[in-house]
Point group: C2
Chain length 690, copies 2
């Protein structure tokens, strides 16, 4: 069924005058742009106007030192001239608008990812820690200068010896009753604070995470776990480190070189008692520790939970980076021609089946990520606005962020790289943006929670929910475990019927494009994986620690796979809601095909699972790939509209290959040959002589 | 079966004192290094000594202009002091040693990939075109200065409008009988020569590919297709372009910034008739064209075929880059600890199942690529030495290079990226090499033949061989098509029995590790894919051109998949021969496991195919993954030996994280806590109070 369509696709802009399918829908691009920009459309547009102005553009190849200065300057321009403090309290000049604030920052990636991340360090981490971990004194004393970037600040959590495992950091903050000070100390090299933005050069203060040690008079010294302290680190006038503080420059990185990452170490540096950011734990002048949260474990996770916004914004920024890459590669694929075809002109790249296979599923995935991100942002705003700030709400938000941030950041890496390769040599030239985006986005997959670690958090949550549901339904009663929860969509174990093999490709494809079939396949997989995992790990509770750890480790890969399957399903559900929300019929039709492509690409990727577990017959499994091929043909004429709907202008893409230059060159070449032919000047090809 | 082993792995260096399997083999690292270095071991070691000396190291972050100068200087140092001209004629100071010469260049990637590629441009393309496409006059006139880098040269084949489709280039070289000159001309912007190393700055001459147009007196003007011309482009004294020549700098690229890539254009630039590199086509003074190869098509491919060495050396260099990345990441994974385990110390990264899953299959793949590359290099030397220079030998060589270059360059990208992520934040710091290797290797997948285009060449060859074999066996008689050919291992269609499901995981695993089972599975898949493809495309011959093209396009994805399956099988066969060649029993045992891991990882990746096509039952399919898990546990203690056997020293790795610094830091931290505990100074953890 694909054979007649490929030759019909003569439209240079990806419009096909004749489709082989009956439907001939058109996308309402402007309406789709509005939908994709979501509830914060206005804020996003304003932020894009900022990111699109030349002073906020990344200059590829700028020397390290200049790039760092440029981004610091941009940061201060942002605060001076633009609306970037929405997340902060209204009384201090902010707007208490957490979701809206993040939506704006996510758009900065189109200017320079270094700016997005430096803004994230300054406002999302440093100032945000003061806001969320501190109390009124800290807000009054430290927040204004942090907000205005009068004090550029580092967020000193990670250590050389401990990345994702924050609970084990070595830095100590011991309370000295005599002077009512905390003594900040990094006792060995592995306890140095590492990879901190603003640490190498610009930062004059830091929020330092350290093990809080105190003893009330006559009492024993107790380690109350990790707490955050506000610590001045440099003399703002001279840029010199303050006494006892030292550091190193991380130097050149794989990307994000507009940020001055570095290391910090502290040799018995003293700060006033009141520099402890004391919302979740405080020390009285006499050294007595108190906390509104009794359990040290829960207290620790509550403190870290305030940092979830970093993951939320990385999810959004990664999706935006994917959009930029696809907008460049699809435009080029719609103009670039290579190798003679059956017609007079050479073949447009995007008319090649393989090129469609390379780019269109990534486009579908990026749409899925967009819709899923908007839901994550809404959940974030619910909690941080206080409207939905319950323990369950926070836990669900953290799980959703831990599921989506790895998915979208890894997808961004895959997408950008495929786009770069799909543009051939032109994709490797820095001016075409793709290599720079890849370099800058790279670290998104391992910072703010390493993706592998985050998926394990998700996997553990899935196991926990499963255990709870089992308990609720009666021990071991898997079949009765059928309730679904809306927010984080816990997978459930149901008796799912194998989709019967009807032995007819057309009917088979019909079933595959049925939304309930797709939902069933994606949901079922997560549920069965979690249930099998739970069964495999059940003996762990009765084993000695070493054996229990070994048993869990022997299933680590499966745990991560289950988390990924869950994240993919969450994205698919969000995409499906996005399709439902589209009002224009043509748009809805194309989005339905795109959602089907996303769903079936997931099924194809995990096809072996469906076969091994009897969910798809061999015959039906074959249909998955052939139906994907049909969807590619249907979607191909809409590819340009689908990337245009992202709403980026040339000031955001800034890639010469996505500027129309390629089509112009072809016109010029065509005109030359036409003129030569008309003038009888074209030499005869040797092969025509024989 | 994995549960008891994980806890046994306490060895810091990856040595496990007790294995859960009966075998307790040890690798003879020195002997394995010798085997991996292959027949050119001595030359490789010498080249590594060069690449390991500081003057040939890449300096990360060097400004563009300085990096370019440094690499040009390195190139001249190479020729002045080292043995880099082996591929050239003995009478001109070379050694007529083609395989040995390439083996040396492949090792330069450990110094700086820019140097490897700039050397490739100068000697592998520019000088090599003079050698292989020119005749004695050109060798005498141009080769000495090209060899000595007195004349840095560009290889001007690719055009802005035509990358992989060289036959369609727009540059013309029209013969002028009056002056006995060729007029080189780029008639429009799309005909500009593009991405040429040495073009932006250093090159003073170029080998320019152009459509040769000539007319004998009174005869018609004929285009004899693409030929190569020696064209001076710059005044060596001033660096200025010669009259009629112009160009642009490609500027910053995603990597390889030690090379001055650029564009060239020609406005009726005249060169003497004798500057045509005339081995395969010549023009007499009177304008008469002659060629030893009648068919213009075959002539074109013969000329391009001389360039196969670029692909061969990229294959080798990509494998070396993968080795470097793995040596860094495995060393770090064997020292780095993260999160508390059951024991006293935190867990070493490589003891995590997922970390093994991430790195060990890539290690297996890199071993497979190493053995396969050595066979490719041998085939190359056979042909280029003249010993095996037959049309069949050349065709097989080109097919093998077209199969392996995409495989190993894509594998390098995957491997380097996984290694970078497996090293977390440290992997993103430039000094740890991984991001730089990724940036530099990136373009290997799209230059010297875009990988997607090369796989299509392989696919077409497989189809052609299949058609020939069918014909030889009687039309349509698939069952009789059973002969195998040794050199390029054409896949054959056989009646393969489904591997029966014996319903016992142990016996099932036993079958999976059987070498014949693996061979059968990998071979069968290629053969069936090719046969199905041939059947699907059969109607194309009888269709009008547009419909035929559409039919072929509708199967492009499958064609590429078949080529990849073929390449993977070729690598597996080479690995298997490598295992057989190992003499030390312990080494042989570990290599067997590693080869099994490679083979079964391929089967797992394509598991759906085996299930859909009835080659594996569902029960057997489950065993594939569980047997892989067992292999990971067996191989884990040998991971360090396996990367040590690559034979790189610290002067090649140059990554602080692979220097032992991490283990030292842990020792220091451990000593600190031990001393504090001994002195009774460790505070009590709060949770111990409750």
């Amino acid at each position: 069924m694909t054979t007649t369509t490929a030759t019909d696709q003569r439209g240079h802009e990806g419009r096909s005058p004749a489709l082989s399918v009956h439907e001939d829908p058109r996308i309402d691009v402007a309406a789709l742009t509005d939908q994709l920009l979501g509830p914060y459309a206005q804020l996003r547009r304003e932020a894009r106007a900022v990111a699109g102005s030349p002073e906020f553009h990344k200059i590829e190849g700028l020397p390290l030192a200049e790039h760092r200065e440029r981004v610091l300057h941009q940061l201060r321009e942002l605060v001076a001239k633009h609306d970037v403090l929405r997340a902060f309290p209204t009384r201090l000049g902010g707007a208490d608008d957490h979701g809206g604030s993040l939506s704006r920052f996510e758009e900065l990636v189109a200017g320079d990812p270094s700016l997005q991340i430096k803004a994230g360090v300054q406002w999302g981490l440093f100032a945000s820690a003061i806001l969320h971990l501190g109390t009124e004194h800290h807000h009054d004393a430290f927040l204004p200068d942090a907000m205005s970037v009068e004090v550029p600040g580092a967020f000193a959590m990670t250590e050389t010896g401990h990345g994702s495992d924050v609970a084990s950091i070595g830095t100590t903050a011991e309370y000295d009753r005599e002077t009512q000070e905390f003594v900040i100390h990094t006792p060995f090299r592995a306890a140095w604070k590492e990879y901190l933005g603003n640490a190498a050069l610009h930062g004059t203060a830091a929020v330092v995470f350290a093990q809080l040690v105190t003893a009330p008079e006559g009492g024993q010294r107790v380690n109350h776990g990790v707490h955050a302290f506000y610590v001045p680190i440099r003399n703002p006038a001279t840029g010199e480190f303050l006494p006892g503080v030292g550091g190193e420059d991380d130097g050149l990185k794989g990307g994000l070189n507009g940020i001055d990452n570095g290391r910090l170490h502290f040799d018995h540096v003293r700060v006033p008692r009141t520099n402890l950011l004391n919302r979740y734990g405080d020390v009285a002048p006499d050294g007595t520790y108190s906390s509104p949260i009794k359990s040290p474990g829960r207290r620790f996770f509550t403190m870290l939970g305030t940092l979830v916004q970093g993951r939320v914004s990385l999810d959004g920024a990664a999706v935006n980076a994917s959009k930029l890459a696809l907008a460049i590669a699809v435009r080029y694929a719609n103009e670039r021609r290579q190798f003679a075809g059956a017609g007079e002109d050479e073949v447009v790249l995007l008319d090649y089946q393989r090129h469609q296979r390379r780019l269109l599923p990534l486009l579908a995935q990026t749409y899925a990520s967009t819709f899923a991100h908007e839901e994550l942002l809404a959940a974030f705003d619910e909690v941080f606005s206080g409207r939905g700030d319950t323990p369950e709400g926070r836990e669900d938000l953290e799980t959703l962020a831990a599921a989506l941030k790895p998915t979208s950041t890894w997808n961004a890496m895959t997408t950008i790289q495929e786009c770069r390769e799909a543009c051939g040599g032109a994709g490797f030239i820095a001016e075409n943006r793709l290599v720079g985006l890849h370099q800058d986005l790279d670290v998104y997959v391992t910072f703010e929670g390493d993706n592998t670690v985050l998926y394990q958090l998700v996997g553990k949550r899935l196991l926990g929910d499963y255990a709870k549901a089992l308990k609720a339904g009666g021990a071991g009663d898997v079949a009765r475990f059928v309730a679904d929860r809306a927010v984080h969509r816990t997978p459930l174990v149901r008796a799912v019927q194998t989709i019967a093999d009807v032995g007819d490709a057309r009917r088979s494809a019909g079933q595959l494009r049925d939304v309930e079939t797709q939902r069933e396949l994606l949901t079922d997989r997560v549920e069965v994986m979690v249930a099998e995992l739970a069964a495999a790990l059940r003996p762990a509770g009765k084993l000695p620690p070493a054996e229990a750890a070994a048993l869990v480790n022997a299933h680590q890969h499966e745990l991560i796979e289950a988390a990924q399957a869950h994240a993919e399903r969450v994205q698919w559900e969000a995409f499906t809601r996005g399709v439902q929300a589209a009002t224009d019929p043509g748009t809805k039709q194309v989005l339905t095909w795109l959602r089907d492509l996303f769903g079936l690409t997931l099924v194809e990727r995990h096809l072996a699972w469906y076969l091994v577990n009897g969910r798809l017959s061999a015959g039906r499994a074959r249909t998955v790939s052939s139906y994907i091929d049909r969807l590619l043909v249907r979607l191909r004429p809409h590819a340009q509209d689908l990337v245009d709907a992202f709403g980026f202008g040339p000031e955001h893409l800034r890639a010469p290959i996505a500027s129309g230059a390629e089509a112009e060159r072809q016109q010029e070449a065509r005109a030359y040959y036409r003129a030569e032919r008309a003038a009888g000047r074209l030499p005869v090809p040797e092969k025509h002589l024989r």
